[in-house]
């Protein structure tokens, strides 16, 4: 790997009641889409804000394009694009005005028209910000992050709170950033989003990175890459008795039993037979590949969505 676009070593941030970032190391290479995946409160946003120069760290070093904030703050700011978790603009500014205004802060800028095209806000270009939908406001925030033609883009939970369609259209914008050769660092707590967008990702919990790699690598690292699911009508019954008799881990979650396995082909027949014998009132059986959700569950013992 050549000189990374972002290099973080030993980052630490203590808030009065919580250690938000706990000795964190990170390397992001040029041109990759890198994701920080983790539940709410994992420290993703704090980490990002320290890297963006908004919050001071207690310890640790950050190099962006090989430069540090203290000496090259202005240069770094003009080469990065930032979408904050909640981008607050004036209620009565229009997307066109906002892009023109923020563009005027940078030495190099993309045209307002191109960006409005990119995020499909042409029709709303002259509507007041307060009248835009959540998805439109978020697309404007992303467009603002691109106004200076940045080499490195930070997106903090770009799709949280959006409906599936709005989320897809933002994914397209992010794919486009990658095609243009930008490095993108994003946070999310949606695993399908991480899977769809990220070349590499780090799973974060309680201020620490538990594991990192490409989505495929992370799933492959699991010892049990497949999951058999029994779904029930309503809440799934207690699985502990079944698990003990089967001598196999069974997770009961919602209306589903999940049975992680290395070899579904040989497990499935005897599993079905045993379930018949025990009169388990299941409705359906599925076999699926383990997902990032399972990786997270395996690493933390907790679900991402909890």
């Amino acid at each position: 790997m050549s000189e990374p676009v972002l290099r973080v070593r030993g980052l630490r941030k203590q808030y009065p009641k919580v250690l938000a970032v706990d000795h964190l190391d990170l390397d992001v290479a040029a041109g990759e889409v890198f994701g920080l995946l983790g539940p709410n409160g994992a420290g993703k946003t704090t980490t990002l804000e320290i890297i963006e120069g908004l919050t001071a760290q207690d310890a640790g070093e950050i190099a962006i394009f090989g430069m540090d904030w203290k000496r090259h703050g202005k240069e770094i700011r003009s080469r990065i694009g930032v979408q904050l978790q909640s981008t607050s603009l004036f209620n009565k500014i229009t997307p066109r005005e906002a892009l023109d205004l923020y563009g005027s802060y940078y030495p190099k800028r993309r045209s307002t028209k191109d960006l409005l095209d990119l995020v499909q806000l042409n029709e709303k270009a002259d509507a007041y910000h307060i009248t835009l939908s959540g998805g439109q406001q978020q697309r404007l925030a992303v467009a603002l992050a691109l106004i200076n033609d940045p080499e490195l883009v930070f997106l903090d939970e770009p799709t949280t709170g959006l409906d599936p369609q709005a989320r897809r259209s933002l994914w397209d914008v992010i794919h486009h950033m990658k095609e243009e050769g930008r490095t993108v660092i994003l946070t999310t707590h949606y695993m399908e989003e991480a899977e769809a967008l990220c070349d590499r990702l780090a799973i974060m919990d309680r201020g620490r990175i538990l594991t990192s790699g490409s989505p495929m690598e992370l799933v492959r690292e699991l010892e049990l890459p497949s999951v058999v699911e029994f779904t029930f009508d309503g809440k799934a019954p207690d699985a502990s008795d079944f698990a003990r008799k089967l001598n196999q881990a069974v997770e009961s979650r919602g209306d589903t039993w999940e049975i992680p396995t290395q070899d579904p082909k040989s497990l499935l027949p005897c599993l079905l037979e045993f379930a018949e014998m025990e009169k388990v009132p299941y409705k359906q059986v599925h076999v699926r590949r383990a997902s990032l959700e399972d990786v997270f569950l395996h690493r933390t013992g907790r679900s991402l969505r909890e």
Partner: protein, 349 residues
């Protein structure tokens, strides 16, 4: 870049109807309303004379004397007079008390009642004097401001007070409150990740507020001139200097106070601790000459009171700045103190 920031502030400000109302329309309405209510010649005063059926020669003399005043005399039999009193319509009533008279003043309508009582008292003294064969007249009363502005009326008194109060509310609310809101909602943070130098953003904001204040004061002065014929008696240079000083002082206060609040709610509470005492105790609407001496002295330490005094001096009476040096020094001290605190404590997030 500064010009652009400044123009954008104006553009966004002009779209904010609520701000436009409070900045430009409300002070005008207030001036118009209060100015009309307290015209230089107050409303005609009515005095009820609770008169028994039997009257004496002294009563007749008294009635003649009262008739010569500007009071409207309403003669009623005691029973009816009492009923009118109980309906709360009577501000002052004169009635027989033994050989002499007594004036009853409605404690809810003291402004009218006291004035009527005073005039009635004068009439009584004149009636007495005439009865004793002396021929005297009332003392003439001339309304005049300390700077001998003869046409001085309440609107003239009110106008500089309102301008001063506007400067204060602009500083505390349009500067202080807005900055707290920006910080709370993360508008500052979005700016902080751009290479825009912070001073340009702040300077743009300050320049914008300054021009708003100048325009606002101009509108008020124009309205005062058109509606009440109030004109500036002082030098325009002195007036501009005083206005600029006030803007600087109250804006700095807004910035300083905004650094003590995390949320707009707490800021509202903190700023009102300053705003309301200053509004009521600084002689905007009325002077404090009836208040205890310690309060009058204490209020001079707050910047608005000496400020308005200086503004009135310059505007109404054409006083040179030098005659208000102490008051202006108090304002200047506040400006420096607030500015120091603001610079030291200011933060973006």
């Amino acid at each position: 870049m500064l010009l652009r920031q400044f123009l954008m502030e104006w553009k966004l400000y002009s779209r904010d109807r609520v701000a436009m109302f409070w900045t430009f329309l409300f002070p005008l309405l207030l001036l118009l309303g209060l100015g009309v209510i307290f015209r230089s010649r107050g409303p005609a005063l009515t005095l009820v004379w609770s008169m028994p059926a039997q009257t004496t020669a002294a009563d007749a003399e008294m009635e003649r004397a009262l008739a010569q005043t500007e009071l409207i005399l309403l003669k009623l039999p005691p029973v009816e007079a009492e009923r009118r009193w109980e309906r709360g319509e009577t501000a002052a009533q004169i009635e027989k008390a033994g050989e002499g008279y007594r004036i009853r003043v409605n404690s809810y309508l003291t402004a009218q009642g006291q004035s009527a009582a005073q005039i009635a008292q004068q009439a009584f003294l004149i009636a007495q004097a005439k009865h004793n064969g002396m021929n005297i007249d009332t003392l003439p009363i001339l309304m005049e401001s300390p700077g001998h502005a003869h046409a001085s009326n309440y609107a003239t008194f009110l106008l500089p007070g309102l301008i001063g109060l506007n400067l204060l509310s602009m500083g505390l609310f349009s500067v202080g409150m807005v900055n707290v809101a920006y910080r709370e909602k993360g508008k500052f943070r979005r700016l902080a990740v751009t290479p825009l130098p912070k001073w340009i953003f702040l300077a743009g904001q300050i320049l914008h507020r300054l021009t708003v204040v100048i325009l606002q004061s101009f509108v008020m002065l124009l309205a005062g001139w058109l509606m009440f014929g109030i004109t500036n008696h002082g030098s325009y240079v002195a007036l501009m200097l005083v206005l600029t000083l006030g803007t600087g002082c109250f804006m700095a206060m807004g910035f300083a106070l905004s650094s003590f609040a995390q949320t707009t709610e707490t800021y509202g509470a903190i700023s009102n601790i300053f705003f309301f005492p200053m509004m009521f105790l600084s002689g905007v609407y009325f002077t404090l000459d009836a208040a205890p001496r310690w309060l009058q002295t204490a209020v001079v330490a707050l910047p608005l009171s000496p400020y308005i005094k200086a503004l009135r001096g310059v505007f109404n009476d054409g006083a040179p700045l030098g005659s208000h040096l102490f008051g202006l020094a108090v304002v200047l001290a506040w400006t420096f103190a607030a500015f120091g605190i603001a610079v030291k404590r200011f933060r973006w997030s």
